[in-house]
Structure formats: C-alpha cells, structure tokens
C-alpha cells in the first residue's frame, strides 16, 4: 500500500482557504439563526409558572374553599360554649391566636383578662343549666392558669419601668375579675348544692394569690417613687374610683331586689350595701392619710377601694346575667343576733 500517495491525497483533496472561510461564515450564520435567545426567566421557573397557569383554576378554587372553611370554623368555634365539640378549639387555638396577633404587651394582657372573664362567664352560664364535661373543665382550668401566670410574669418584667400605673391597673382589674367570679362560683355551688367545681375554685384561689403578690410588689415599687409620681398615681386611682362609682350609681339599686321584696327595710343590710360601706370607709381613711401626708398608706387604701369597687361592678353585672341572687339581704343582722346570743351564753357560763 502506497501510504505516501494516500497521504498526498489527504493534502491534495481539501477545501481551499477561501472555500473553508466561506462555509465557516455560512455555518456561523446558521448557528446564530438557530440558537435560541435566553428567556429572562429560568427554565425551572418557566416550568413552574406554566404549571401554575395550567393548574391555577384548581389552586384558586382550593384556596377559596380552604379560606371559606377556615373562616366558618373560626366563627363557629368563637361562638362555642362549654359542652360544644368546638369549644376546646376556641380555648386552645382561637384565643391564643388572637393574643399572638395583638401588637403590644399591654393589649395582650388586657385581651388575656377579657378572655379569662369570658371563659368564667361561659362556665357559669353553662354550669347553671347543665353539667359541664370534665374535658372542657380541664381545658378551662388550664387556660386560666396559663393566662394568669403569663399576665403576672409580664407585669413582673415591667416592674422596673417608669410607668407602673398601667401595670397596677391591669393587675387590679385581674384581681377584681377573679374574686368576683369566685363569688359567683360559690353562689352556683350553693344553689346547686354540689361541690363539682372545687378544682376550678382552687385554681381561682391560686390565681388570686399570685395576682395579690404581684400587686403587693407593684405597690411596694410605687411607694419608692418620688412624691410627685405618687401624687400622680393617687390622682389616677381617684379618677378611676370616680368613674366606676358613676357607673354603679347609674344602676337603680332597687332593681337588684326586684321580685324579692316589696320594700327595703333600712336596718337590713345587703351584701351590696356592706361592700359599698367598706369602700366608703377605705376612701375616708385614704383621705385622712393624705391630709396627714402619709401618701403611701393613702395610696394602698385607695387601691383597695378601687379593687373592691371594680369587683362590685362585676358582681352587679353577674347578678343581672345569672340571676343568682348574689346580693343577699339580712346577713349582717343575722350575724349580729348570733353574736349577742353567744355573749349571753358566755356570760351565763361565767356566772355559773
């Protein structure tokens, strides 16, 4: 095989430089014509949007159905009462979600107090009519415990801040709600003659102690403030007392005794009037201390008066709502009579 000649063939039979360049240009032009222009969107995202467009009707419909179902569930659960199957969802999901979306700590605490009040009202209203399921009672007790602890923790964290009056107001409000509901629960227990709500009452007692501790610490901190700040806080307390008194005075006291008696006997004192008397005493003493320039003692007395007034207002509302005859009459007279009897017996014993 004449390899040299074959190699020569290779050198001989080829494109000329002109031809090579000519066809190179043609092929380059072909490449440019055929090469696709890059889309501003990546291949992956193109596919995503394409798929979304194809399926958008399904996606939109699903979203609408889901939103509708969620809203319906939310609304239904929010209106649920104890013994409803949606009630645990209200306590465990809806209430915490509402708190989560509340912006400030002060508003969160106010919302927590409102939820505690509503929960205890729901409980009382249902308990009067029918027995509440144990599961729901546990849910209620846990929710109250969590909320009260959270409120007291938040207030304790704020205790070193300048504006303590708002924290005090929150704590007072919480205490009033808890003590008034405690009284309502006691009345329910008496009316139904059963001790089925002992655990809830114990939880409320615990919560009360917790809150009273917080108030005590707050009062202590406030009393360490300078005079002008204490004056400001006392003024705010007095304004609050005035506002609450006006609200109570708007209520016709006779309404409380409607269908119970035809006339009010002046020397028969009701729980309602006893409470009012105690409040008035607090206020008088507070005024006296203030005159003697004992601002710290005055502040404590005004604070107690404020708490009791608020408690009284809540009890008046509960009396109307639950029709439990919260404010009994004749209690003081009975106590006085029994005390005299005891004294006579003791004296007689001595004489013997």
């Amino acid at each position: 095989m004449k390899n040299n000649n074959l190699k020569e063939l290779k050198n001989k039979i080829k494109l000329s430089n002109t031809e090579k360049a000519f066809y190179r240009q043609k092929i380059l032009a072909f490449i440019d014509q055929k090469t696709p222009v890059e889309s501003p969107y990546s291949k992956k995202s193109n596919n995503f949007y394409l798929n979304f467009l194809i399926k958008k009707h399904f996606v939109l419909t699903s979203l609408i159905i889901f939103s509708f179902l969620s809203t319906s569930l939310f609304v239904s659960a929010d209106q649920a009462d104890p013994n409803d199957y949606l009630y645990p969802i209200k306590i465990k999901v809806i209430n915490p979600t509402q708190i989560l979306f509340t912006p400030t700590i002060e508003k969160k605490n106010n919302l927590r107090i409102k939820q505690i009040d509503e929960t205890l009202k729901d409980f009382s209203q249902t308990e009067i009519k029918e027995k509440i399921k144990e599961e729901d009672k546990i849910v209620i007790i846990n929710s109250i415990s969590i909320n009260v602890n959270k409120i007291n923790d938040e207030i304790s964290k704020e205790i070193n801040k300048k504006d303590k009056s708002k924290s005090l107001k929150t704590a007072n409000h919480l205490k009033s709600i808890l003590s008034s509901h405690n009284i309502v629960l006691e009345k329910i227990k008496q009316s139904k003659n059963e001790a089925s709500n002992e655990i809830l009452s114990l939880e409320i007692d615990n919560s009360l102690k917790n809150t009273e501790n917080t108030i005590h610490n707050l009062v202590k901190e406030i009393n360490q403030e300078n005079d002008s700040q204490i004056d400001q806080i006392i003024k705010e307390q007095k304004d609050e007392i005035k506002n609450t008194l006006e609200k109570i005075e708007d209520i016709n006291i006779n309404e409380i005794y409607q269908d119970r008696t035809t006339e009010i006997i002046s020397d028969e004192k009701s729980d309602f009037e006893i409470k009012l008397t105690e409040i008035n005493l607090n206020l008088e003493k507070g005024d006296q201390e203030l005159k003697n320039n004992k601002k710290e003692e005055a502040f404590i007395l005004y604070n107690e008066a404020n708490q009791k007034l608020e408690e009284l207002k809540i009890l008046i509302d509960s009396d109307k709502e639950f029709d439990l005859k919260i404010f009994n009459k004749n209690t003081k007279k009975e106590k006085v009579e029994s005390k005299i009897e005891t004294e006579i017996i003791d004296n007689n014993m001595l004489n013997i």
Binding site: N5, K12, L15, T35
Partner: protein, 171 residues
C-alpha cells in the same frame, strides 16, 4: 446559556479541525466537488441542530460528523441515479488545480484516485477513513455501526482488492 456558548465554541473548533476530512469523505462518495461542499455544509448544520436538541451528549464529535456525513451521502445517492464508471471518470471538477507538485507526482495521485473510484463503496469508505483520514478501527466501527472485528476484516479485504487492482494495472 453557558452550555450553548460552550457547545458553540466546541462546534466551531470541530469545523476548523474536520471540515476538510468531511469534505473529502463526501467527495469520495459523490465525486462532485460542489455537491461535496454542500453535503459537508449540510453535515455540520445537521450536527448543530442535533446539539441544540440536547438529547444525548456527543462523546466523539469527529465520529459523529462522519456518521452524519455517511447518512447524508447515502441519502444523496439514493435520491440521484447511481453514477456509472464512465460518468465518474468524466467528472472534471474533482479537485482544484494544484500546481505545487511535479507532473509525475500529479499523475501518480490521479491514478490512485481513479483506482479508488473503481472500488466498491464500502471498500472505498474503509480505505479513505483508515489511510487518508487516519481514523482508528474503533472509530470506523462507530461511524459505520459495525463491530470492530468486522471492520478489521473488511479493511484487510479492501486492501487486498486495491492491491489486486494495482497489480492488474501494472500488468
């Protein structure tokens, strides 16, 4: 987009390296220079279209180009009537004039071309790919889609046939 740019660069390089070889291959199948240039161009354009489709990675662009050229030439032959030997020998535009060689050399090469023309197409292909284009047996096997052993046997047969032709002419 980076991949396309990379492919483009690789493809242009392949043109610079193998355009002559593909042209020669087409020429020895068609025996028409102008047509061979067109088929060479078509080989490269079809290859670029394949690359754009991004189906499979091309391991050996050289082998791929030969395979495409082979298929294009076969289609061209089927489309047109087969060349007769007389027609082949009458073809004048086989290669451009080259005045750099001596007349003796020139006549030797022309004679060789004439001999190659008379070979069977498969023998012609194998000898051109093996001895002119310096392709390996494995590469030829890939191009022609035959097992390498078969290609080796066929190459040796083609060599024998050309040798016989040489001996015949010498006589």
């Amino acid at each position: 987009m980076k991949q396309i740019e990379k492919n483009k660069k690789m493809f242009i390089q392949a043109y610079d390296d193998y355009s002559d070889a593909i042209f020669r291959y087409c020429l020895f199948r068609i025996f028409d220079r102008e047509k061979a240039k067109e088929l060479m161009q078509e080989t490269f354009t079809k290859t670029w279209e394949y690359i754009l489709k991004d189906k499979e990675e091309i391991h050996s662009i050289r082998a791929f180009l030969y395979r495409v050229a082979h298929n294009i030439c076969v289609n061209e032959i089927i489309k047109n009537k087969p060349y007769s030997l007389d027609e082949i020998s009458e073809k004048t535009n086989f290669d451009p004039e080259d005045n750099s060689q001596s007349p003796e050399k020139e006549s030797e090469i022309n004679l060789l071309i004439e001999k190659i023309k008379t070979l069977r197409p498969i023998d012609r292909d194998l000898l051109i790919m093996k001895y002119i284009e310096d392709l390996k047996v494995s590469e030829i096997a890939e191009i022609l889609n035959h097992p390498p052993n078969t290609i080796s046997v066929k190459i040796s047969r083609a060599e024998k046939n050309l040798k016989k032709l040489n001996q015949k002419n010498e006589k």
